[in-house]
């Protein structure tokens, strides 16, 4: 077994989970990943049945054809059975993505599908539908010198703390081109797609930070960048909608806890709809507009005022 630290958890694993940060002492693991046998047909008494995904209380089974079958239980165990000839890169992506997402749900943590960037003493989360530019924005902030806490999965506990994931950004070829990053020196995350793993050498923040707010990225056909803050109860729905794989929550029987966690968080953070032109805008302008919007919110202590 190898030991890693990510999302505030110690993870023991039969499989190499690089780029997660390694631990050199065998601490007690919060989550253990085993290579083993996983049912070909699913769970014994599932409460929620999809063609390739089944759930019961604290149990979750899913199968990605040609890659692997996964069995996730009690928020602390993942068993993975790769298909013959499947590549370990692909298996690892599912372990660090969908599987950990399910583990967090089983542990009653709130998971937002988005990135977390450090602004002063707080974390700001950028969420939104796939293809709306979340990763591009995180990479652009990183390039500008901001610390990154998380790419893709922002995990938040009941105290409203966002946990660091691991020091890597995943970039599509187009994003790399936009940011002037040469992908010749990077590894593809899988051979089948033009998406690359970019290690964050400096600029990864590895301690939890309180969440200041959430931007929900959208696009429109107009030419302007628009910030529309949500107020009061309006903040709750977008927060709920940005939850990672929210469709699974009913199946997991976690719905009331999840709604409570969303309400609690909504009371303490800003939620702003950020709409950008779908084409023909400058990334720099978007970044500056966000910086200005955040400074107006006056929720964040500036970096220089922080004590270590």
């Amino acid at each position: 077994m190898q030991y890693y630290r990510a999302f505030g958890l110690t993870i023991a694993s039969d499989l190499n989970l690089e780029p997660l940060q390694s631990l050199y002492d065998n601490a007690d693991a919060d989550v253990t990943i085993f290579l083993g046998q996983v049912s070909k047909i699913g769970l014994e008494n599932p409460t929620d049945i999809k063609p390739l995904c089944q759930q019961a209380e604290n149990k979750h089974w899913f199968c990605v054809p040609d890659i692997a079958r996964f069995y996730i239980t009690n928020g602390n165990s993942i068993i993975v059975e790769p298909f013959e000839n499947s590549d370990m890169q692909s298996v690892k992506l599912y372990l660090l993505g969908t599987c950990l997402g399910i583990i967090f749900h089983q542990r009653d943590l709130l998971v937002i599908h988005g990135n977390a960037v450090r602004f002063g003493d707080k974390a700001v989360i950028f969420a939104g539908k796939s293809g709306n530019g979340k990763s591009t924005l995180a990479a652009a902030f990183h390039q500008k010198g901001y610390d990154i806490l998380a790419d893709d999965l922002a995990v938040i506990d009941k105290q409203g703390l966002c946990y660091p994931s691991y020091p890597q950004l995943k970039l599509w070829q187009d994003t790399a081109n936009k940011l002037g990053i040469n992908t010749d020196e990077l590894h593809r995350i899988r051979l089948q797609v033009n998406k690359y793993a970019m290690p964050i050498k400096a600029g990864f923040y590895d301690k939890p930070l309180p969440v200041a707010g959430l931007y929900i990225l959208q696009t429109h056909k107009q030419k302007n960048i628009e910030f529309i803050p949500a107020n009061g109860f309006e903040k709750f729905k977008p927060l709920k909608n940005q939850t990672y794989r929210k469709g699974q929550l009913e199946g997991l029987g976690l719905k009331p806890q999840h709604l409570r966690a969303c309400t609690q968080l909504a009371n303490n953070i800003f939620v702003t709809h950020l709409t950008r032109p779908s084409e023909g805008f400058k990334l720099d302008e978007l970044i500056s507009a966000i910086e200005e919007d955040i400074s107006l919110k006056k929720m964040i202590t500036k970096q220089q005022e922080l004590t270590c």
Binding site: I41, P51, L52, G97, T98, Q192
Partner: protein
């Protein structure tokens, strides 16, 4: 004989090549389902587009963002089967994909496998019926050129290209999945050959020139109210002038970035003013057989619309 209807399935596919009346049809359906005045064109929700990444992913229950187009294609039939059988109500789902066949998933996931190595992208088990909208390719060319920001000649070439796709790029993520369009003729032929019974082919020209009879037939086929009052009201509320006025007041969200507006002319026979004889000939060379099949050319190759 009335074709058999798969009552378990809740999906009607609204299939068409681009720029052939699909949006108009969905606006008509939305108006038919609503008792109020003209429906807001930005609020039409008759069902997700078949290529919606979120819709497909919701049925699979795991991330598909880091799978290739071909890998995702293999999973789409299972997703549609699930979505069709787990919907509360019948849905009307836009499709620009050709009726195509995709690779099968590996056999070692037990019962889910099939013995053949190809499966239909839109399996019969997911399909209640398919309405195919077809429009004279001479007019499609002009509308498609405006929509895409392409020159007419480029559009003609693309409409003759068997490899043509929507969202086929591999260097970024799109909120729609890749769609194989094939050529205009191959697209139409693929749906003509689709192996299910409950199909209706409707011409854009008939929707335009014989609206009441045509939309009544469509409403009946789609198991929607088809009485005279309902159909007339929905047809009037979906008139091009009405749609243009709405677009004038508020941008239409389905307009492409390249186009000035979505609801442009919406007329029959615009090609006679726009296309050169050489362009007309090329389209007839490429698509003459299917144009004759759908009644756009008579047996002497004379134009009907």
């Amino acid at each position: 004989m009335k074709p058999s209807v798969n009552e378990q399935s809740k999906i009607f596919w609204l299939a068409s090549y681009p720029k052939s009346g699909n949006t108009w049809t969905r606006i008509f359906i939305a108006n038919l389902m609503s008792a109020a005045g003209p429906i807001d064109i930005n609020q039409i929700n008759t069902g997700d587009i078949a290529s919606s990444r979120d819709w497909v992913e919701q049925a699979l229950g795991f991330d598909i963002n880091e799978l290739s187009h071909d890998e995702i294609d293999k999973l789409r039939p299972l997703a549609y089967q699930y979505l069709s059988q787990h919907s509360d109500a019948i849905g009307y789902h836009k499709v620009h994909d050709a009726y195509s066949y995709v690779g099968n998933i590996k056999s070692n996931i037990g019962e889910l496998s099939s013995k053949t190595n190809k499966q239909a992208l839109f399996p019969n088990s997911a399909t209640r019926g398919g309405l195919y909208l077809v429009r004279n390719p001479l007019d499609v060319v002009i509308s498609f050129a405006h929509h895409s920001g392409w020159a007419i000649d480029t559009t003609i070439n693309n409409m003759g290209n068997s490899q043509q796709t929507f969202y086929g790029g591999s260097n970024r993520l799109f909120n729609q999945l890749r769609q194989h369009l094939y050529s205009w003729s191959e697209h139409a032929q693929s749906w003509l050959d689709a192996p299910f019974d409950n199909k209706l082919f409707v011409r854009y020209e008939d929707m335009k020139l014989r609206p009441f009879a045509t939309f009544t037939k469509m409403a009946k086929f789609l198991e929607l109210p088809s009485d005279e009052v309902s159909v007339k009201r929905a047809v009037n509320n979906s008139e091009i002038k009405q749609l243009q006025a709405q677009e004038e007041a508020n941008m239409f969200k389905e307009k492409s970035n390249q186009a000035e507006r979505f609801f442009r002319k919406g007329i029959v026979g615009d090609w006679q003013e726009i296309l050169t004889p050489r362009q007309v000939n090329q389209i007839i060379n490429d698509h003459g057989r299917l144009m004759t099949h759908f009644g756009y050319l008579d047996d002497d190759k004379k134009h009907i619309y």
